[in-house]
Symmetry: C2
Subunit: 183 residues, 2 copies
Amino acid sequence: MSSFEDADTEETLTCLQMTLYHPDHLQTGRFQAIRFCHREKLPSHKVVNFGRHSSTCHYIFQDKQVSRIQFSLQLFRDFNSSVLSFEIKNMSQKTSLIVDNHELGYLNKVKLPPKCILRFGDYQCLVEKQDGESLTFFETQFALSPTCLLQENLWPLRMPVPENGPQSTLYSTLPTEMDENEL
Amino acid sequence: MSSFEDADTEETLTCLQMTLYHPDHLQTGRFQAIRFCHREKLPSHKVVNFGRHSSTCHYIFQDKQVSRIQFSLQLFRDFNSSVLSFEIKNMSQKTSLIVDNHELGYLNKVKLPPKCILRFGDYQCLVEKQDGESLTFFETQFALSPTCLLQENLWPLRMPVPENGPQSTLYSTLPTEMDENEL
């Protein structure tokens, strides 16, 4: 049995592969809490938070520019479908989340396409979904990209035009240490 | 300042009023963990689980017929809207969740209308939403109905026709003690 299957049912698992990029990933330990090249099996009912807050988030970015909860991923099923889909919700009050060309404000959400690029601040993440049979579990797998995902010309995004220079629209002027997402 | 406002910002809070009914509510303690006639303030990013499992669920039904997580409620914002909306997702693999006339299977989800009736097993719940200004917090409030919500003729539901008698379609034949939603 491969790691792509549920050990009990031998059903294949839906897998979300996430390739992360940040221009300063070599200089700091922002990704040191992420286990790369490892498949993690999670229950389908789990809401997976990504962010800075270690007790609330399942995947942690060690970076004060990142919100306590930056975004959340969760599974759902369309009616009359046996395919698991992912929904992403922006949980940050200070930072927009860009899904391909769609900008999500606080608590906005979208269904993820099978392949897309997420952006928040200087972070980029290529997300690729592989469908599986199990409705009970799914898997995640992380990779690290040494090069910018947008400059590789693999993803012809129409970049939004910032008003005040590159990236300036992705972080607002709110303080980075505000108590958003405080439990 | 009333309890309907955020103490810091004085913004009014979106409130979800939930009126619960179960035919055996007097005989057992199924609702003893629910605090009735009390407004609870919760952060908008919180996913609120309802079910039997005390460590996973925020609101607990003490009833072995109820799944570990029966359903979840969470807030979101439509694009270009300042109004908070609620989404409900069925988290039970054994029991359908009926939202007015829409039957939700496992991991199916819908946006809640401003007023609706939820049903699962013998449980009924009238849900009424009051909009507020705050995007950071919302409130819940529970009431207990001594009478069936459907028979009061206040809610002209077109009841689905069960094949094997009343309520038989709402619980499947799966065992009640299966380990669904096991973390």
